[in-house]
Amino acid sequence: MADTGNEIIFEQSGSYVGRTLSRPGARRSVMGRGRYTDDIQVARTLHAAFLRSPYAHARILNIDTTAAAAMPGVTRIVTGRELAEHVEPWHGILSSFVGMKSAIQHAMAVDRACWQGEPVAIVVAETRALAEDAVELIEVQWEELTPVVDKETALDAGSPVIHPEMGDNLALRQDIDNGDVDAAFAAADHIIEDSFEFGRHTAVSLESRILVADFDPSTERLTIHTSSQVPHMIKTVFAKLLRMPEHNVRIIAPDVGGSFGLKIHTFGDEVATAALSMILKRPVKFIADRLESFVSDIHAREHRVRGRLALNKDGDILAADIDDLTGVGPYSAYPRTSVFEAVQVINITGGPYKHKNYRAKATVVYLNKVPMSQYRAVGHPIGITVFESLLDQAAVVTGLDPVDIRRRNFMPDDGYPAVTPAGLPANDLSHEACLESLIKRMDYDGLRREQAELREKGIYRGIGLAAFIKGTAPSPVGYYGAGRAPIAAQDATTVSLEPSGAVLCLVGVTEQGQGADTVMAQIAATAIGVPIENVRVISGDTDAVPYGGGTYASRATGIGGEATFQAGRALRAEILRIAGVLLQSEPSTLEVFGGNVVDAANHANIRVTLAEIGRIGHFQLGELPNDVQPELSQTRHFRVKDVPYIYTNGIHGAYVELDPETGFLKLLKHWIVEDCGRVINPNLADEQVRGGAVQGLGGALFEHCIYDDNGQMINATMADYLTPMAGDMPDIDVAHIQTPTSASELGAKGVGESGVGGAPAAVLNAVNDAMMPFQRHITAQPITPQSILKALGKI
């Protein structure tokens, strides 16, 4: 942030950066004027429903659609085998994951279904209800095959192999081995060792996956209205899979009701729906209902991690060694793969600490379960939980307080740039400042006193901490770029001065309900110098906005925000150039402020309004000399350079009460202090963190895709898959340390995933702290009353 002068821009009176402004989108939603994909009515739309495999692994011997096709109102039924003639299959591997294997995946099962829920046939009918009726009449002759459901045995010699052509069920093995881990363990005074289990869960976005695919045979254009985080990526993907020229595909993502990483993947049912629109030359709509969402949306987080920590007697971490095993679905997701989660686990485990000896192994195996892939804070909750739990155990054996052992081992705030134990470049982090802020906000010592007093009365409370690093704003150096995935690592914004003096702002990043559009408006208004009411942000239409990566990996503000800032500054410079000509003044003596060109010296004298600049720039160009051509649209691109991510950091604190007779927990309070660099909109940043924390707590305590031995998900309803409810959540206190990133002028890092990553670890540590008097502890998530009672020996 050196010498750019931006601090002045952000702090001057006309700045919207760092201010809480209400979201225009929130007002629309509250007034019932939201426009989600399901609200879009396209004339002559047909409705799709899918026959899905009832088995985790079965051969399709025959499909008889005669009775279903004869039903009134049914337009077309297409099986997976028939569809394969119209749709390219895909291969979910990236060359950046060396040695990775996956099978070729078709949009629908061709001769074999590999998970319960895999689409097998699509029915298109006049209504969804008719389509569902017809699905029930399709007769499939199945031959059940033995499913692979246990990741622990999936690589055993006797295990069935899901895809025989691959030889085994291995997707990827990846290792990190830095320093001399064996020597450090040999020299250690204490070795902590434990094993951790993490249950599968899934995103459960409020708005489920949906698309209306509308192929127009007169122009051969395919327009897809869909709830997506990555309109440009799926434009490229749909074009490739449907053998369309890319410029003939248009993706429109209107309001999006949550995405959380779910809506960045290729789903066979969506591709099949688009294909049917092309076959039938009519709009076709598919919306995943809640039941099929559970068995077709991406799952995540099924891991078993063994971890070891070596320490000296003073509590210094000497080395860490972890072994992660994860079982993904039968195919690797396209185009981002299903191995990235495990790779992130080993990348970020122990990331806040300064030990140099680190060994990690990730093993990814295929299972006959729903495909797993990226979900909010990919891999982070797992790596953070493993390390922070081991560290709390280390605190016990070394006699240190959990605060002190972290203080002792953190990377120092004045020690950057640095590299993490996994060898990743880290810069502009603030572990020490976040910890000190957290313990002050928690009144940590007061809580410890209260805990001790209440234990005398038979009340068991626990305090848990969890520090983290989080990769945000990925660069082209990262896995996707290096692996040649069709995923934009840059983003761009176009800002245009309209004749009225208002600004149109076209952004490549997308709005998911999180407030990205508002943040972009704040940045653009500040960079240009106009009232925010005069800025209109457009996102989510590939025919309108610059090609960009969309919103994932906490990249909207960090990457799209910088592009918007740079575009805004460029437009401001152009406005001043034109104003200088009109006013016969040096542009450097002028400034854009409050929607007017004013004297830079005092920001007071209005020299010319932007409406006047707009009028002359668009209509009365005769008032300008011939050699002055106004360029009142400015586009700027931005990518993060050199490092794979802009890392952020933070720390969570949890305070819980345990009922040792019932195993029930009460979440009393939760605190988070994180460093997302420059905060653009404090309220939106807080709510990103808070909402993420709720999702993290959900994973720690409730959410679980439970499978039986046959590979059937047995709790695939909203009654049995438990999501966190507001009434069960604690008050969540959020604060920010702001260390602007040196990777951009804006200085903003990502904030969308900081709440998710640390919350499960903090609550697990708090539960184990509460159980300390019983000398028992747990390592499996979700934490349930039953698992606590078992640990306590009550059952």
């Binding site: 209504t127 969804r128 209800a129 569902e132 009726d133 029930e136 209902d289 809640r290 039941l291 007779e661 019932t662 195993g663 029930f664 409730f702 439970i706 047995i714 709790n715 309803t717 009654a719 049995d720 438990l722 966190p724 409810m725 009434g727 069960d728 349930t784 009353p785 039953q786 009672l789 009550k794 059952i795």
Partner: protein, 290 residues
């Protein structure tokens, strides 16, 4: 999640409802509040030929005091029963249980009779009518009205004494007599979820001694279970550690909880024991929610 095709009959009177039920029998489903029926239809877990919508039968609505009995019309909405001054004064167990019944939106639409008629084993109202020794009134075209004791009503998982041509029209619930006390406890993963364990109990307390206890357990087996051995273990005793030890043994005889993915049998039995201990302690202190 679209319901399969069904015929829909909206009846205006009880007579009409009984006629339709007489005609269709087990091919008919009665639509009251629809809080359980509609999801099962949309999930295609049930496919009745005809839905009999009884929502316009005003005779089946209302709560009244009739001597030492409270009459709760089967079509009374949960929210109305919950806030009824008659219920609050005379049926404290039901008032205690109601905050645990799902969520406000469900209680606004769902009905008391629908809950009893469905007999979900994790539901609160079936347990309460059994604990309170209520009488359930059934009516049919063929057989006319008959009274069934709650203890004879619940037969198994979603199975009751009600014949397919019968309609549950009313519950008659004895009011709390002098010296009688109620306590209620439920443990579920999240508020409003199906109970992992629950107890509704009612009995007489004098000088810290409990007699005539009717402890009913829900969320345990395929139907609400009256803890006969537990009641015997408590009879004439106070809420002491000695009683609790006896209760722990008795509950092992009374209950044989079903396991599922939310909790296994051992967990459910442990939770039932803890709830019973806490409920008994509450009973001798005037009762309430534990």
């Amino acid at each position: 999640m679209k319901a399969p095709r069904f015929l829909y009959v909206r009846v205006a009177s009880l007579v009409e409802a009984l006629e339709v039920l007489a005609e269709y029998g087990d091919e008919a489903s009665v639509l009251a509040g629809g809080q359980s029926l509609m999801p099962t239809l949309n999930m295609r877990l049930s496919s009745p030929k005809v839905l009999v919508d009884i929502n316009r039968i005003d005779d089946l609505k209302g709560i009244s005091l009739d001597g030492n009995m409270v009459r709760v019309g089967a079509l009374s909405r949960h929210a109305d029963v919950m806030t009824s001054p008659i219920v609050v004064e005379h049926l404290p167990l039901i008032a205690q249980a109601y905050p645990f019944v799902a969520h406000a939106a469900v209680r606004n639409r769902g009905t008391f009779g629908g809950s009893v008629a469905l007999a979900d084993p994790a539901s609160e109202m079936p347990a309460c009518v059994l604990a309170l020794n209520a009488t359930l009134v059934l009516d049919s075209k063929a057989g006319g009205r008959r009274n069934v004791a709650a203890s004879d009503y619940f037969k198994g998982l979603y199975e009751t004494e009600r014949r397919d041509d019968e309609l549950l029209i009313e519950a008659r619930i004895p009011i709390k007599a002098a010296g009688e006390v109620s306590a209620f406890g439920e443990l579920s993963r999240r508020h409003g979820d199906f109970a992992l364990a629950g107890v509704a109990m009612h009995g007489t307390v004098a000088n810290g001694v409990i007699t005539g206890l009717r402890p009913v357990y829900f969320g345990s087996e395929d139907r609400p279970v009256l803890g006969v051995a537990t009641a015997a273990a408590v009879e004439g005793k106070g809420a002491t550690e000695e009683t609790f030890a006896a209760v722990n043994v008795a509950l092992g005889n009374d209950l044989d909880p079903l396991s599922n993915f939310h909790a296994d049998a051992a967990t459910r039995l442990q939770l039932a024991r803890v709830l019973t201990k806490r409920a008994l302690t509450s009973m001798v202190n005037g009762g309430g929610v534990v």
